[in-house]
């Protein structure tokens, strides 16, 4: 597979390490009420879609960027690749 890195252009997926569903960005607040349930769902449950999947790839053999790649799990077609940092910020994560 070839991942269209938003900074570096097309890169072989072999340069990357895969983590999983991009929902792992949405880490719950560990000090909040009900954190145990929130963390269970966050860490263990997956939509696991057959179709478009937003997922985290790490450019380990490259620039160390974490990317959010939108990829079709039925065809492996990649429709988008964004810097995970930008996605995280857009989803309201900051400090």
């Amino acid at each position: 597979m070839i991942i269209p890195h938003p900074l570096l252009g097309p890169c072989d997926a072999q340069e990357f390490t895969y983590l999983g569903d991009a929902s792992l960005i949405a880490r719950p607040d560990g000090m909040a009420e009900g954190a145990a349930d929130a963390f269970h769902d966050y860490l263990y449950l997956r939509d696991n879609p057959a179709g478009l999947h937003r997922e985290l790839w790490y450019h380990e053999q490259g620039d160390r960027s974490w990317l959010v790649v939108t990829r079709n799990t039925l065809t492996h077609e990649i429709v988008k690749a964004e810097l995970a940092r930008d996605v995280a910020r857009a989803e309201g994560r900051g400090r």
């Binding site: 390490t17 880490r27 995970a84």
Partner: protein
């Protein structure tokens, strides 16, 4: 026999080769198959199941029958298709799957027993008595099965890998592929043209067609010559594109040296290419299919197109008298070509009642071949004429044409579904091709030469247009444009066995039985009968089987469907797929900065992940590794030792929020660590399990250096980057892995300070008060070399770790040894390191195995509840916080000289060896020269409350059973006085 004229062979040169012990001669340009036919060798192999005598069926990579063991020794190459072997001088090949000889094969008895050995018979028997399967039945079956053999000696040749990029990859260099490459090449596109054959041209080399009024083969040669002049076009003969992968990536194997006796110096045998294409055009042609009839597998019965190819390209014919059996016009073309070359065609047996006539021979319209004769080679065929009468034809070869199948292989690799085309009675590529892939020529069912040229040009133009380049339509050279005329005919009715899959010996009877027993789905048919599962993936067999099944179920072939072709298109050598990554080069080897020095000291090295580390440093007179290790441990504890600890992961953490960031990464507090101080840190995974441990040293308000274990250096850094970029993107923190940037040495032992004083430049206070335990600083050593100094201790001694830029590592170890000589400084390796850490009860690999909690390690209180750190929440789940959980303990054997094996399980004294009594296990074990006893660490349920208890430590696997006493894991200096000294 070799024909008098023609052929693309060099008749001026003779080369000698050996097959089945006999020497023969051939010419450059020959394949092994053509050369054997030229020498009147029709019998080339035996079939898989019935050991039937077999000759060559095809002239290309679809060959199911003529499989040989090529070469000898470590180069012995089983199942090699004689049709794909370029003849070279000294070639040696042996028949396979035949014993004692090809002509007299004992297992041909199977053929007599065929009525009992029907499809799937083995599922119904060999069940009694049960133990006989492994002992008797299976060994017999295994010996009878299999095809060729390997010697298991190492392959002496090398393999390579390469990467190529192009605008257009053209797969197949027949008329469509050549025209496509010309069109794109002339337009300036970067083109790769790959063909599995050693001579480009495809069927043009095998036919007597003309293009632009010249022989097809000449036109092809001219096209190749033009392409060779184009710098942006890469011609790759002997190169099989075997797989279509995601995003335009194709796998290809180039047979660099297979046409030579041995690879030239410095050349690989084969190269695996990963081709990154923007667009790909599959011009893979079509494969002729046989018609099934009784005993249609005798040597001499071939595909008609193959007969034609052997005559035209190699000037050979398996016999002087031949016949053709066809259901389509191309059979007539084969007959005409043969006659033009002086081969006598006894008749064309055409199943079509309206078959056209053919000058020079008799066309038996509406006739069928009903049987054949000849034990080791065809002697005659029996023909049922249109009027029902029977006629026997004495021929040594029969060319069979049941029509042509577009070569679908690559078009199916990304789950493209073929479509049935009634007009050519064959499957063509479906609409859902891999992105960027298109098909042209016979591979898409366009069988005329003109159509191949036209669709090839069009395919190239469309691909380039897709990439934004308009290319003018080329003037197409003139070529034949005959329509495809075929009346589907799959098999001749009869009661004798008629073969569908030659290699696997699948006959029509087998398909009938599969149908009778309910294995009607195409995948069931394939799996039950093994149709299409041979080394040719059923290229010539599948459709015949499907047609028979369709007939039986009353469905159309389109409704019946087809099995999928999977990569690779043709089998690929494992050596090529592995490339250079074999033997010692299987994985890179990482060397520590002191490696060369350690080698000079005769160190013994051990693999630690990709690293090689010094395991111990044997001295003259030491005959056992334990002697060396005991000495290293004792010397270190008595005076001073030095150890290369560069392999530990090092991460530089900088930024205003560095402390806050680490406070979230580690489960214990890091926010308030003072500048100039180091703290032990425990890192959890988000699921609450211990991930890694190490130290965090604060060099400045906004600058930390953290260490990881050797094994986790990469995963920890990845994890920290994840947290930084994905969880808290606005924290002001930057990370860089500096594992390889700094050489780091541990100086341990009561004299370590004294040694260090000789290294550190003047003015730095190394006293216990000035630089206490867990201090860190940036220092200058050896007159101005910058270094980092940490007073941390894994050994439990007064100890330091000193880091310098990696390029000084070698110089530093030599300097340390020099200045430490007065204290008899002793280098120690990973074994002594391990002994000292066990003596101190420090957790390492055996304890940090990805399943243990901080609580298991006795570090439960480190998990802060006052902050949100990774893993803290889920570490509190009931299953991880159970009060009777495993706890790290020390273990001492009741008999100090009894070794406690790591991996032993712990049970109550006298308890039976059953799982229900399992209390824990031993994680690490060593001999402690300081205690004069074997010692160990282990996890025991509720261990802390069991201090002093005696347990049974049992390793039935290795035959060890002993009694051990539970102690504190801190065997040595439990108060830690030595490291604070």
């Amino acid at each position: 026999m070799r024909l008098q004229h023609g052929g693309q062979i060099d008749r001026g040169q003779k080369i000698s080769f050996r097959f089945d012990g006999q020497y023969y001669k051939g010419h450059p340009g020959d394949t092994l198959a053509s050369a054997l036919l030229a020498n009147d060798v029709r019998l080339m192999g035996r079939s898989f199941k019935y050991h039937r005598p077999r000759g060559v069926l095809a002239a290309g990579s679809e060959e199911p029958n003529a499989l040989v063991e090529l070469r000898t020794g470590g180069r012995q190459e089983p199942n090699t298709r004689a049709t794909m072997v370029e003849l070279f001088d000294g070639l040696q090949a042996m028949p396979q799957n035949a014993w004692p000889s090809l002509r007299f094969d004992a297992l041909a008895i199977n053929d007599r027993l065929s009525n009992f050995l029907t499809a799937g018979f083995y599922y119904k028997t060999f069940m009694w008595p049960a133990v006989f399967w492994e002992k008797l039945y299976e060994p017999i079956i295994r010996r009878a099965a299999g095809l060729g053999s390997i010697t298991t000696r190492p392959d002496p040749d090398s393999y390579d890998k390469g990467y190529l990029h192009c605008d257009l990859l053209v797969i197949g260099a027949g008329p469509a592929g050549l025209m496509a490459a010309l069109t794109a090449g002339r337009a300036g596109a970067r083109v790769i043209l790959a063909d599995e054959d050693f001579r480009m041209g495809g069927r043009l080399n095998a036919d007597r067609q003309t293009i632009a009024d010249m022989a097809g083969a000449d036109w092809a040669a001219q096209a190749v010559a033009e392409l060779a002049q184009m710098p942006h076009v890469r011609l790759m003969p002997r190169c099989t594109v075997f797989g279509a992968f995601d995003h335009g990536i194709y796998g290809a194997v180039e047979r660099v040296s297979d046409h030579l006796a041995t690879p030239p110096e410095g050349k690989p045998r084969q190269t695996l290419w990963r081709i990154y294409s923007k667009r790909a055009l599959v011009c893979a042609g079509a494969i002729e299919r046989p018609i099934a009839f009784a005993n249609n597998d005798r040597p001499g019965i071939m595909l008609a197109g193959a007969l034609r190819a052997y005559a035209n390209r190699w000037a050979v014919s398996p016999a002087q008298d031949v016949a053709i059996f066809t259901n389509n016009d191309t059979g007539h073309r084969s007959a005409a070509d043969l006659m033009a070359l002086g081969v006598h065609v006894a008749a064309v047996i055409d199943t079509r009642p309206d078959a056209p006539p053919l000058a020079g021979t008799e066309v038996l319209a509406g006739a069928q071949v009903t049987d054949s004769a000849g034990r080791l080679g065809l002697r005659a065929v029996t023909v049922r004429l249109g009027n029902g009468q029977s006629r026997k034809l004495s021929v040594g070869a029969l060319g069979v044409s049941g029509g042509w199948n577009p070569n679908l292989g690559l078009t199916c690799h990304q789950r493209g579904r073929p479509l049935w085309d009634e007009g050519i009675a064959a499957f063509i590529p479906g609409a859902t091709l891999a992105p960027g892939m298109a098909v042209a020529g016979a591979a898409m069912g366009q069988f005329s030469t003109h159509a191949a040229l036209a669709t090839g040009a069009e395919g190239a133009r469309a691909a380039l247009a897709d990439l934004g380049h308009n290319t003018p339509a080329p003037d197409l050279p003139r070529a034949e444009d005959a329509p495809t005329r075929i009346t589907p005919f799959w098999h001749v009715a009869g009661t004798k066995r008629a073969w569908l899959d030659f290699q696997n010996d699948v006959t029509i009877k087998d398909v009938k039985l599969a149908h009778q027993e309910g294995f009607e789905a195409v995948e069931h048919l394939k799996r039950y009968t093994t149709l299409g599962m041979a080394t040719d993936q059923g290229k010539t067999a599948n459709l015949g089987g499907l047609a028979v099944m369709a007939e039986l179920t009353g469905q159309s072939i389109a409704q019946t469907g087809t099995t999928m072709f999977r990569p690779p298109y043709t089998p690929v050598a494992l050596g090529a797929l592995a490339g250079r990554s074999s033997g010692r080069d299987f994985r890179p080897t990482r060397l520590t900065p002191s490696h060369h020095w350690a080698r000079e000291q005769s160190a013994v090295f051990v693999e630690a992940g990709l690293w090689l580390r010094a395991q111990y440093f044997p001295r003259a007179g030491e005959s056992h590794w334990r002697e060396s290790v005991d000495r290293e441990v004792l010397a270190t504890r008595a005076s001073v030792g030095v150890c290369d600890v560069t392999t530990l992961g090092k991460v530089d953490v900088q930024g205003r929020d560095a402390a806050e960031f680490l406070n979230r990464i580690y489960c214990n507090g890091m926010a308030k660590l003072a500048v100039g101080r180091v703290r032990y840190g425990l890192m959890l995974r988000e699921d609450g399990i211990v991930f890694d441990d190490g130290t965090a040293a604060r060099l400045a308000e906004d600058h930390f250096v953290v260490t990881t274990t050797t094994a986790n250096a990469v995963p920890v850094f990845r994890h920290m980057e994840f947290a930084r970029q994905c969880l808290w993107p606005d924290l002001d923190v930057q990370l860089i892995s500096t594992t390889e940037a700094w050489a780091q040495f541990a100086l341990a032992g009561p004299k370590s300070r004294a040694v260090l004083e000789r290294l550190v430049d003047g003015g730095f206070d190394l006293s216990n008060a000035g630089f206490p335990f867990m201090a860190c600083a940036e220092v200058s050593i050896c007159n101005g070399c910058r270094a980092r100094l940490f007073r941390i201790s894994f050994s439990g001694e007064l100890a330091y770790e000193l880091a310098v830029p990696a390029r000084y590592g070698d110089a530093l170890i030599r300097k340390i040894m020099e200045v430490g000589a007065d204290y008899d400084i002793t280098p120690y390796g990973t074994e002594a390191l391990g002994v000292m850490r066990i003596e101190k009860g420090h957790a390492a690999g055996g304890e940090l195995n990805g399943t243990t909690t901080a609580r298991n390690l006795g570090l439960g209180r480190m998990v802060s509840t006052a902050k949100d750190s990774i893993g803290a929440v889920l570490s509190r789940r009931e299953g991880l916080a159970a009060p009777d959980g495993l706890e790290l303990v020390g273990l001492r054997p009741v008999n100090p000289q009894s070794q406690i094996p790591a991996g032993a399980h712990l049970l109550a004294q006298g308890a039976a060896l059953v799982a229900a009594n399992d209390l824990g296990h031993v994680t690490a074990s060593c001999y402690s020269p300081n205690l004069g006893s074997y010692i160990a660490l282990g996890f025991v349920k509720n261990g802390a409350a069991r201090m002093g208890e005696t347990l049974r430590a049992a390793s039935p696997l290795t035959g060890v059973d002993l009694e051990v006493q539970i102690t504190s894991p801190h065997f040595y200096d439990p108060e830690g006085e030595r490291l604070r000294a």
